[in-house]
């Protein structure tokens, strides 16, 4: 069944029997758990909008494997237009949910594996790419959601995987036989893991020969034997069990709903293994994944900024200060920063290129710049939203107190704004600003898709500093400037000789 609706997707999760723990309890039904429901609704939006004529143009794509119309979240980009539409889709979904819609990590993992398995096979004569294409087709035909599981717990970050005291600090192959591989270890902070159909595991860093057991990539259904999930806590998360208003964004929550995935003797059949020991390709796979993923952030987070800028303006207006020059200035600052990030996402997509496999990759330098800007600018525009919305975003009484007879009326009076604005709406909007700007959204902007140092490494590696030195040497006259010589019609040395003489002749 291609192209599930939001409701189809939610119902499809009921068929999965996965083992999930949260707050000391084993969760019996993921779909019915109120702590998970907003995250599930958000992921459902990636399905629902694919049916909406107003958004199909970017939410769907044509499969290069089958020629069928598919959800863009299962598509391997085959043109610049695909790359651009992907980031447009990110912005749209950020606007529609105000939070992380989770499905991009799996999309980026699919794209990274498509390109890298092709290159492994070219070099080694293996058959990973054909296997992977079968998996991709399965994902497309069933319109499945994959959790992209790259980040290992990593223990002592200064040591390589093979040097760790605890081998489970990195997911690894414990055994290989004719049927497949057995893996052990964990993946940490995995977005949308409990409400995905599949997990795609990838290595998290470049590796050396001694790390070949850790050089492993595969896909498994989430309810594969031996897999356990531990759902993560977030700032103010249990408010959603207490009051929709206090939760801030009760429909879609905040961030993606992350989980620790524990793999204990998990069997993966060969047809689902896409790398098993090819350590020399880990760096490339990680870079390709990270590049695609970092490109997204100037889409999704800018979609969120559209919501938070709207909320900030709304609150300023409700408080009668929307026309104050410093408020207009701050909102303009927010917009300028957000559109800077958007420009980066568009640019790295428009500057993309074809890979050996025929799929398209973004421009990695520009994608890393995109994400580096996000690690700073999201904090800055959220800081401005605090400035505009006021301290009330963290001092509002609870919905229960607002509803309490005798005291509720007084509270309501205390939070009135300009005439004609419904106070309850002010409460809702302040809580939305709080939800989006005070909690988990900030560290997500910092560390999701990698910490800033990871982006700086990539930027430095691709900066072309040698070429910049050459440019400077040419302008400074240290290196021959052929264009200049053509303009002046003689060798530079001769030109300067003549010029010096002319200068000397000039009366001072």
């Amino acid at each position: 069944m291609a192209l599930m609706t939001g409701r189809d997707y939610i119902e499809s999760l009921r068929e999965l029997q996965l083992e999930v723990y949260f707050m000391g309890e084993k969760i019996t039904s993921v779909v019915d758990e109120p702590m998970f429901q907003p995250h599930i609704n958000t992921a459902a939006m990636t399905y629902e909008l694919a049916h909406d004529p107003q958004h199909q143009e970017i939410m769907t794509a044509t499969s290069h494997l089958t020629g069928e119309k598919i959800n863009r979240f299962t598509h391997v980009h085959h043109s610049i237009d695909d790359l651009v539409k992907k980031v447009r889709m990110m912005r749209l979904l950020g606007q529609k949910t105000g939070t992380c819609f989770q499905r991009c990590v799996g999309l980026d993992a699919l794209n990274a594996l498509y390109a890298t398995t092709y290159e492994i096979d070219e070099k080694n004569g293996t058959t990973y790419h054909e296997r992977f294409k079968k998996h991709l087709r399965h994902m497309q035909e069933k319109d499945l959601m994959s959790a992209g599981a790259m980040t290992d717990p990593r223990g002592d970050r200064s040591r390589r995987p093979s040097e760790q005291k605890n081998p489970n600090a990195y997911l690894h192959i414990s055994k290989k036989d004719n049927d497949g591989i057995i893996v052990n270890g964990a993946k940490a902070h995995i977005t949308g893991a409990i409400n995905s159909h599949e997990i795609i595991a990838l290595p998290t860093r470049a590796m050396g020969e001694n790390d070949s057991d850790f050089a492993v990539a595969f896909a498994v259904p989430v309810d594969t034997k031996g897999i356990k999930f531990v759902f993560a806590r977030q700032t103010n998360d249990t408010r959603r069990l207490e009051s929709p208003m206090d939760a801030g964004n009760p429909k879609y929550a905040i961030v993606g709903g992350e989980a620790l995935i524990i793999f204990k003797d998990v069997f993966v059949p060969w047809e689902r293994v896409f790398m098993a020991g090819e350590y020399e390709f880990c760096g490339q796979l990680v870079e390709t994944f990270a590049g695609h993923h970092r490109a997204n952030y100037g889409g999704c987070k800018v979609g969120l900024s559209d919501v938070v800028i709207g909320a900030s303006h709304w609150v300023a207006d409700a408080h009668g200060v929307a026309k104050a020059s410093h408020i207009i200035d701050k909102l303009t600052e927010m917009i300028a920063m957000a559109e800077t990030c958007w420009s980066c996402s568009l640019a790295c997509s428009y500057e993309g290129r074809k890979t050996q496999s025929g799929s398209y990759n973004i421009n990695p330098l520009l994608a890393n710049v995109t994400k580096l800007n996000i690690t700073r600018m999201v904090y800055e525009w959220m800081r401005l939203s605090h400035d505009i919305a006021g301290g009330k975003i963290i001092t509002l009484p609870s919905e229960s107190d607002i509803n309490l007879p005798g005291i509720g009326e007084v509270i309501t009076e205390c939070f009135e704004g300009k005439e004609g604005v419904i106070v309850n709406d002010i409460f809702k909007m302040l809580r939305l600003v709080e939800n989006m700007s005070v909690g988990a959204g900030l560290p997500e902007a910092m560390h999701g898709a990698g910490s800033p140092a990871a982006q700086k490494i990539m930027i430095a590696r691709r900066s072309g500093i040698e070429r910049k030195r050459e440019l400077a040497e040419t302008i400074a006259g240290i290196r021959t400037d052929e264009n200049f010589e053509k303009i002046v019609g003689k060798p530079e040395e001769e030109y300067w000789q003549e010029t010096k003489e002319k200068i000397k002749l000039k009366p001072r």
Partner: protein
């Protein structure tokens, strides 16, 4: 194709055309629209109806339609790349955000101008 001049004047409430004007409507993806795209379309539909003209919009049309309307949310007009140079003879109109034929108009004027352009083509 029926034309406007073929259509008889009818008493109020009755439609002048038996076969509805078939419009293939394409929305851009709507990543950051500068106009309320469905509102423009709704207003356009109302204009047809208030002039006693039956109209039918089709989103994913493989059927024969009288017109193609590209509803781009902004002047970048993503839809034009793939749809404007088509070999088909179907007349095509493109809204580019608050612009039509690359001329700025207000959002309120947009459906009215579009409606008038469509009638000109039909007659």
């Amino acid at each position: 194709m029926q034309t406007e001049s073929d259509l008889p004047d009818m008493p109020d409430g009755q439609c002048r055309n038996e076969r509805p004007i078939m419009i293939h409507l394409k929305y851009c993806g709507g990543c950051n629209p500068e106009i309320d795209r469905p509102a423009v379309v709704k207003r356009l539909e109302e204009l047809f109806l208030s002039n006693n003209l039956k109209v039918e919009f089709d989103f994913n049309s493989n059927r024969n339609t009288d017109l193609l309307i590209l509803v781009n949310g902004c002047p970048h007009a993503c839809l034009e790349k793939d749809n404007m140079n088509s070999a088909t003879m179907t007349p095509c109109f493109s809204i580019q955000g608050a612009m039509i034929d690359y001329r700025p108009v207000t959002e309120e004027e947009l459906p009215v101008i579009l409606y008038e352009k469509i009638l000109t083509i039909l007659s």
